[in-house]
Amino acid sequence: MAELILRRVLVAIPTIIIVSMLVFSLQKLLPGDPALMIAGEEHDPKVIEYIREKYHLNDPIPVQYGMWVKQVVQGDFGKSLRTDVPVTQLIDSKLPVTIQLAVMAMIVAVLIGIPTGILSAVRKETAVDYVANVVALSGLSIPNFWLGILLIFLVSVQLGWLPASGYVPPSQDFWLSIKTMLMPAFVLGTALSATLMRHTRSAMIGILRSDYIRTARAKGLRQGKVVYKHALRNALVPIVTLMTLLFGELLGGAVLTEQIFTIPGFGKLVVDAVFTRDYAVVQGIVLCTAIGYVGLNLLADVLYILINPRLRGA
């Protein structure tokens, strides 16, 4: 087990290096000069030149990359070109927000996706199955931003039940924090639940057809026990993997949802940073997300082994 984790970590290092190089060079390919964006409306040529010097924008890209890596290795991600805030501080303040949103969205997705998936597998090709499928499909096809705006108008403006947008840290007011995050988590969660539901359904259907389930039924076990104890446990293996990957995606920032609900997470930060050519921020966030994603992949592997004892010896 320990050897496996170590091997995975070693494999992850080149992945992260390649990601960082890719992001660095892709960013430089973007049209638009960051110095022009920072120099303000007046475009004073002297200021523009100073900014180019200060941020080494005149140096060749490999040199710039080398300097950045040297900083990062020392734990310094640089400062936001737009606001002066150190990137580490930005990551510090945005990561909890993004994690909270991801966790809450995941809870919504699991609560909706897995039960409906099981139900439609057990009641395959009945009215229940069809209804569940339609709901899942609409969850996948309704655009996040549309559902978000609709919910804001209905729940906040018309009914006044929940705050329309924004973010409150749980440490400041726990319930208000949950309330503010409820709508965005629901919007994100419904979309994910559709994917989860479809995967749960197909995994369950496959397993319910297998020999050992027939044996269990032949033993005279009750339906509930067959489904939850015997079938679900096996079906969970691919679903857990899927969940960790979906969670990894959520950590990259839910750009549209964050934009609509004005949640100050990774997604909004990185989009704003791209538009203002705030290189330091984009690089820092992407690196952080890549590390998170690789970490979650590793976690998926570990969970895989924990759930599936047959793999433990391997």
């Binding site: 004073d44 200021v47 934009q259 004005t262």
Partner: protein, 500 residues
Amino acid sequence: MLKTRLAVLSLSLLASSMAYAQTLRIGLKEDPDVLDPDRARTYVGRIVFTALCDKLVDISPKLDFVPQLATSWSYNDDETALTFKLRDGITFQDGTKIDAEAVKANLDRSMSLPDSNRKSELSSVDHVEVVDPSTVTIHLKHPDATLLATLSDRAGMMMSPAAFKGDKTFSQDPVCSGPYKFVKRVQNDRIELEKYDGYWDAKDYPIKKVVYLPITDATVKLANLKAGDIDMLERLAPTDVPQVKADKSLDFEPVTGLGWQSITINTNNGDRAKSNPLAKDKRIRQALEYAIGRDVINQVAGNGIYPPAQQPFPPSSPYLSDKFPVTERNVDKAKELLKEAGVPNPKFELVFGTGSDNQQLAELIQAMAAEAGFQITLRATEFAAMLDELDRGNFDASLIGWSGRVDPDGNIHPFVTCKGALNYGRYCNQQVDKDLNQARQVSGVEKRKPLYTDAQTILQQDLPVIYTYYQPWPFVLNKNVTGFVPYPDGMIRLKGMNVQ
């Protein structure tokens, strides 16, 4: 008896309403940039500074200069020295005194900080002299009529020297001279300020706390206002104007700003200008102007909040000349001009920043110009990329605006003088340069206005820039917010404002 009871009742009512009169939440269209007046560059940043940092002088809604930190000012005879008398007993938000030394330290910083965006604004300043603790004189290299206006904006904002000379980055924890002091900032989320009780005019500021919330999506920003999650917002989307006007719980407070929007034409910048039909003959540019109806733009794209602009100076400015009324749309005249120029169907590309407002405006211009024979292709480009292309001359014509300045110079000089930093089309005319440079050095409306009018006589013929409409600042407030006065500079001055 009854009287006393009423008095007690009204007093307690007053007290309770005052207890709630605490926080004003303002929805901004973008997240402000760096909170350092010397380095800042955005409109929303200036809105925050208006509460955070006082200036030497302020402007009135009619664009006159009024005292703020300085109570009076005067020029010497040849207008090469401007002397300010400072208000008595004023302090920065850290309690240190605002005296002539502090003012000098501030102006020196604005002129010497390597990435100061105020340097060019203060380029006429030679040195700053401390006369006595409450008197400071700014010595100039040459007379500069724009200086007072410059000092009524970010260059004149006074920060605590202890804060900018200290170890911490100033913008992380700004200490200034305004009625509200910095509490905290969460990037992309909020900026919180609270009242500074030692402010010289604290009694006129009933609001205790101000929160600025950047909400990028226009629909969501308005929804927040309607749900009561914010108290006011700036820059309502023109498409939402009818809806807001119909809503009795909201107050619509638009004001015509100091800035303009334009069709800027590449007349002379690089190879692209050689193939650009608009660059070849001014009659083609004149035809384009006749082909588009500014009133149509106002009605269709602006829902009535895009006041037609013919000149770079706003209606509130005394420099607006009555010699150049807004050109009426005249398709026949446009066709005639194109025929005279020998190009009945000029083809060009119009580039503009992405966004639904801009898209609609560009399509409207395309459709109107097509009636006269123009064949316009549209290209929406992300803003940062567009700036780069304009700078390199890779455009025929572009929709671009300017946020506007109090002094007329800022609205015209950088755009049409040969070496102007914002002259994307590289238009160049010696007489225009001469007029505009001279207007920088003489003072008084009566001396400067003829120079601007003379330059405009040439520019209105040559049309390197076709102004379309004045930048509006449409504010929307909940009815419970009182005392708001819209200013043409689009700033939110909190003096006298309250939340009931």
